[in-house]
Symmetry: C2
Subunit: 407 residues, 2 copies
């Protein structure tokens, strides 16, 4: 007998028929003798509907009131799912974030979970009930309703699993697992049976939208095994777990890619200590996250700096860079929105040499020019022209034979 958290996303509870199917799935698990805690999102479309009403009133809704509004979406789902379970003869009870005391900080619309009171959950489980908890929401110390940001229900699921010491947190979604790369780009992409937290974090932050990145970080911190699987199919999905030695045999686990960045280049600035600091301090002050940075120096004592940031911060960062450029006497500031970042990810890189070279060769073979490079212990990323992005993904997937290797 195991203690299992099952999280169902908005598509899985998108209408009454689907809610009934989810109830069947939960009851199946319960009948196998397990204790089940369920976390649900709002019915798909509901959060957007609520947001749309808010924005009809004001462009800048107050965070507290927005959370008050959005938290209703999950409250509807949990009540309906509890009813569906009861209607099928399974005793069940729904709980808001407030009722199971999911305590967060007070950062409305992007709150972070601090603690969860597991006592209430265990009391209900001990009576044979399925416990249905609203995802995405909590309360702060003053009893104000908070929400965790988009995808926050994943984090709720993992946080509850951590708080009650669950054996596993199953994340049911509309894809059937984590793939070696985006199957829309590479049809022979293979579903991974296992992936480590660190690899998943790199995959998630690079645009594989299967799991919310914060939930993976949470799972890693508390060592909660996650099972990502389809709501609509029976077969197993992908386990996201602590790295073990067998994983190191695989050099590259997956290829991620994103088109969501832009590149800014500032040319002809003095090559002196403190110049780069001045630029990136200004950008950090505006809460803009810089991803990759490269600097070249030339013989005339001047330097060029290029960096990438997310598309949404692009305009703001360009303006800032132009201002600083004027101060520093830069010769030029360039803005390039047509880039793609392609990454090879795998914990095996730690113990294998020549991975970078293999990446560069694979791209060179396709005549794809590399604009920027960055690496971490388990990742090699290359920025290329946007039009070569998908071609680069296919080349790397092929070079590391990901369609065939077993993870």
């Amino acid at each position: 007998m195991a203690l299992i958290v099952q999280k169902f996303g908005g598509t899985s509870v998108g209408n009454i028929e689907r809610i009934k199917k989810v109830a069947d799935r939960i009851i199946e698990t319960k009948k196998q003798g397990h204790d089940v805690i369920v976390v649900v999102s709002a019915m798909s479309g509901e959060t957007d509907k609520l947001l749309n009403m808010a924005y009809q009133i004001t462009d800048t809704p107050d965070g507290r009131e927005l959370d008050m509004l959005l938290a209703t979406g999950e409250q509807v789902s949990i009540a309906l799912l509890a009813m569906a379970l009861q209607a099928k003869g399974q005793d069940a009870r729904s709980f808001t974030g407030q009722q199971v005391r999911i305590i967060t900080d007070s950062a409305h619309t992007k709150a972070r979970i601090r603690e969860i009171d597991s006592e209430r959950i265990f009391r209900e489980l001990n009576q044979g009930k399925v416990v249905v908890v609203a995802g995405f929401q909590g309360i702060d110390e003053n009893g104000e309703i908070t929400t965790l940001g988009r995808g926050g229900s994943d984090t709720t699921g993992v946080a509850i699993a951590a708080a009650i010491g669950a054996d596993i947190c199953e994340i049911y979604t509309d894809v059937d697992g984590v793939y070696t790369t985006d199957p829309h780009i590479v049809p022979e992409a293979r579903k991974l049976s296992r992936i480590s937290y660190d690899e998943m974090l790199e995959m998630a932050s690079l645009g594989a939208k299967v799991l919310q990145i914060r939930s993976v970080a949470f799972a890693k911190k508390y060592n909660v095994p996650i099972h990502v699987r389809s709501s609509f199919k029976k077969e197993e999905g992908t386990l996201v777990i602590q790295e073990d030695s067998s994983m190191e045999d695989i050099v590259v686990t997956g290829i991620a890619h994103t088109k969501n960045e832009v590149k800014i280049t500032i040319k002809g600035i003095p090559d002196r200590p403190g110049i780069a600091a001045k630029l990136f301090e200004a950008i950090a002050r505006d809460n803009i996250n810089v991803d990759m940075i490269i600097q070249n120096t030339s013989d005339n004592g001047l330097a060029d700096i290029s960096f990438t940031i997310s598309k949404e911060d692009g305009k703001k960062a360009l303006k800032l860079t132009e201002e600083i450029g004027k101060e520093l006497g830069a010769t030029k500031v360039l803005f390039d929105p047509n880039i793609a970042k392609v990454s090879a990810i795998g914990v095996g890189m730690r113990n294998h040499v020549g991975v970078a070279a293999k990446v560069f060769q694979a791209l060179a073979k396709e005549d794809i020019n590399i604009l920027m490079i960055s690496t971490s212990e388990i990742r090699i990323s290359c920025v290329v022209e946007a039009k070569y992005g998908e071609q680069a993904v296919r080349a790397l997937h092929d070079a590391f034979d990901l369609a065939n290797k077993k993870s």
Copy 2:
């Protein structure tokens, strides 16, 4: 400067445009220097939409889960209204029933308010904020979400007004006050400027749907003046207040009428002590409310009993009566759904004689046969054939000159 509770019904906050208009109205009151606490219902149609989803899942949804579901309707309204107030420059905050601790008993879907913590409300008012509270909902002692039943937001408004000692509870609705009778039946019906709690209770229980009856009983108990008025017009509506001596000059204040009852007659039962008790005990055991009862005896030692009950209990009561009738050897059980009850209501009746006679004469003049009669200290009710119901209302409205008298 006054302390004012303003309650807005579902129609008043039925869409975004109306919510903005309600915000204007609140700000107007606030600008006059008053402190304002607002109670809102769910947007019109919302509660039915939620109920409909529940009934797609099961015919018998659990009360606790139904309350969990329905409470979201008001939570959406309060958040949107608070945003609308803020967008217009008025500081405001929304609160669920849980957050201002509207403590109820645990009777899900028809809970009764036990107490309200006014401390939180005053803290916000003292900071110059408009306090927006979700109507219809509360929590029980275990923190379970409860709802107060249809029209419960009126009761929330009055209960909050009582708890904080408000000067008045304004109920904004889609009619502009309480009329001497239904204007659809008598076009010259007049809007009353004042009516006593007791009269309003009689009017409400007889089918004048302006105010939820429980809210009036609450207002009477705590002596909270209610002002029923239109959300869409500026002019004053009707004050529902404690009876004063001037009201006694008016013999009849209004004419109420309902078609929502049926009549059951059991004939030829033994005219012995305890027979009626046996019948009505059985009916009470099934939670059926009996309204009027009359008993005739004949020379042969047998009796006939007629009584009225609400239409929805009709079938159940008929079945019960037939069973008891068999036991008692009744000769016949009759069922009459075609009745109407017409009532003249006024606190002045206490000090005036001949009111009943005037009622009977007015009906006789129209050749309307009276089937049953019942009276209270401030009411005379007659059951007539359904087809004469509206004619009877017009006759009584006319007989007491209600179109002209000033209340």
